[in-house]
Amino acid sequence: MKIDVKHIAKLSRISLTDEELKKFTPQMEGILESASVLQEVNTDGVKPMKGHIKLEEVREDISGECLTQEEVLKNAKYKEAGCVKVYGKVFGENQES
């Protein structure tokens, strides 16, 4: 089973060296390979087995407590004007890492 690890990495904005690509590609393909036995089972017309709840059991629309701004920003590496600050271009080419 072939996968394009370079493409997957790009979608996740992770840059991999050629060496890392060479190392990870067979590893990831191996994982998919072993999971792929599941594909042999015929699931036509079989619905996903998941828990069900009734609409009336779903959370009522009532607003509650939030974190403070300080707490929200606690884990942010950079912050400015009460916001999380992220360096990089508009579409996320992160220049940091």
């Binding site: 996903p48 629309d61 929200v72 600050k85 992220v86 990089g88």
Partner: protein, 503 residues
């Protein structure tokens, strides 16, 4: 497009509309939704901040509102609700995925009838969550670009309404967007204010050579060897008017490109309202790149027939039905019916006024008078004040009294409008004023006597009239109107004067 090009190409438009629905709490957590003008990052919890281990808990009201929108647009409602994860990597999406619906939307296969009678086909309406608000800046000291992210908007309930590609003009697209906004507002699903981002329209547009494509099962298919031109998606549209303008611009741009022998590439462009143009943003990532997967943290939600019937009760008479009823039952013009029903408030004002008037005149006349007064004086005042007609402070019952008094010839229409304006500007009580004018009219005596008095007192004008200067009749009419405090009917005055002057 000029005539030559409109003869050559068809325009094909699909519209994606996102609407933030009116709930108190967010889609998957209890944070309050009202983020407008709030301090950044104060309506945030571990769930909408995407902290590891935090679990989403769906909001019942949000799901009800999504179903309500589906019912109002003639959709089928799913009996099981599934959520999926849509992955992409961007700072406004803290979890690295958005909880949305991929394969099984809550609502599917609906339609909305637009003004030209066409039923615009709705493919689906699904529930998802909004992303955080990001603003882009450049650092003065280093020249580095950066983004500031405020998570207050993260996970606010959002529904996406997707049409099939069966809209065929910019005007129809605008009309459809208007209908969707009206439905959302009539049913309190959303305030749908585009300037505040509560409603966002993203058209996808393509142009194809006439006769070389067909619309089948909700898809555009090529005929024979023809290669379809790809579609272009336009974002950043901030008003309903801009929907029409942006599409018109794109159609021009794409047809010019094709005529120059260039190939159109599938892409996303942004509407620049100030310049009135669209600007290239990016070539489009294909759907597979989102790596959708079933959301494992939310159980399947079962929707019963009883749930749907209970939600259906929230549907009120919508603009399309109102327009038909006003036209059929009351002979109101289509234009007036459309304008009056454009907001729920103005429709309610009209219907109340009609009902009050019908105590004094028949149904149709009541509707006609109500429509004329709303479309005329009331909208003039509302426009001047920059308000909705329901908010200009004219009590419908007072206005009804004024209209009835005018119809009973207590005073002229001019006088009635003057009273209406004075009641707004000076706070005059309309009922009192009507009574005053009624008794004034009684005390001034018969019109004949006043006409005689005016003829006696204005010998010059009488001489002028008799010597052929017919215009001076206007002067005499004015004098009589003055003495009657505007309570006489000017036509009666004119006729009585002419009769009297013949003697």
């Amino acid at each position: 497009m000029n005539k030559e090009l409109t003869d050559k190409y068809d325009v094909i438009i699909g519209l994606e509309i996102h609407i933030q629905t009116n709930t108190k709490s967010k889609m998957f957590c209890s944070c309050p939704t009202g983020y407008f003008q709030k301090q950044p990052n104060t309506h945030v919890c571990p769930v909408c901040l995407g902290l590891p281990g935090a679990l989403p808990v769906p909001n019942k009201r949000a799901i009800e509102l999504c179903i309500l929108m589906g019912l109002a647009t003639n959709c089928n409602i799913a009996n099981e609700i599934y959520f999926d994860r849509k992955h992409y990597f961007y700072p406004d999406l803290p979890k690295g995925y958005q909880i949305s619906q991929y394969k099984d939307p809550i609502c599917s296969d609906g339609y909305v009838e637009i003004s030209n009678g066409q039923k615009v086909a709705i493919e689906r309406i699904h529930q998802e969550e909004d992303v955080a608000k990001s603003t882009h800046h450049t650092e003065g000291s280093t020249g580095k670009e950066y983004t500031l992210v405020d998570y207050n908007k993260s996970s606010v309930p959002l529904i996406e309404i997707v049409t099939k590609p069966n809209i065929t003009s910019a005007k129809d697209a605008k009309d459809y967007a208007t209908k969707i906004r009206q439905i959302a507002r009539y049913l309190n699903i959303s305030d749908a204010d585009m300037e505040k981002g509560q409603m966002r329209c993203e058209p996808n547009i393509s142009i194809q050579e006439k006769g070389k494509w067909e619309y089948k099962d909700g898809k555009i298919l090529p005929i024979g060897e023809y290669k379809l031109n790809p579609k272009v998606e336009v974002k950043n549209i901030g008003s309903i008017t801009a929907v029409e303008k942006a599409i018109e611009y794109e159609v021009e741009r794409m047809s010019a490109e094709l005529e120059d022998g260039e190939e159109i590439k599938q892409q996303t462009r942004g509407w620049n309202a100030a310049k009135g143009i669209t600007e290239f943003q990016r070539y489009k990532e294909s759907a597979d790149d989102y790596r959708y997967m079933p959301e494992p943290d939310i159980p399947v939600i079962d929707i019963s027939k009883e749930d749907i019937e209970r939600i259906r009760k929230e549907i009120v008479e919508l603009p399309n039905e109102k327009i038909k009823r006003y036209m059929q039952d009351w002979d109101i013009t289509e234009y007036a019916a459309d304008v009056i029903s454009s907001t729920k408030e103005s429709a309610e004002y009209f219907e109340k006024l009609q009902k009050k008037l019908s105590e004094s005149m028949n149904e149709k006349d009541s509707a006609k008078e109500a429509s004329n007064w709303i479309m005329g004086p009331l909208y003039a005042i509302a426009n001047k004040q920059g308000k909705e007609i329901a908010d200009i402070g004219v009590n419908g019952d007072d206005l009804a009294k004024l209209i009835v008094a005018f119809k009973e010839d207590v005073f002229t229409k001019n006088k009635a409008e003057e009273l209406l304006n004075q009641s707004i500007e000076k706070g005059l009580n309309i009922t009192d004023e009507i009574e005053k004018l009624k008794s004034a009219k009684e005390s001034v005596g018969s019109l004949d006597n006043i006409v005689k008095q005016v003829i006696d007192e204005n010998t010059q004008a009488v001489t002028d009239y008799k010597s052929g200067k017919e215009a001076s009749i206007g002067f005499l009419v004015g004098k009589v109107m003055q003495l009657t405090h505007g309570t006489a009917n000017p036509n009666d005055v004119r006729n009585t004067l002419i009769e009297e002057l013949k003697k």
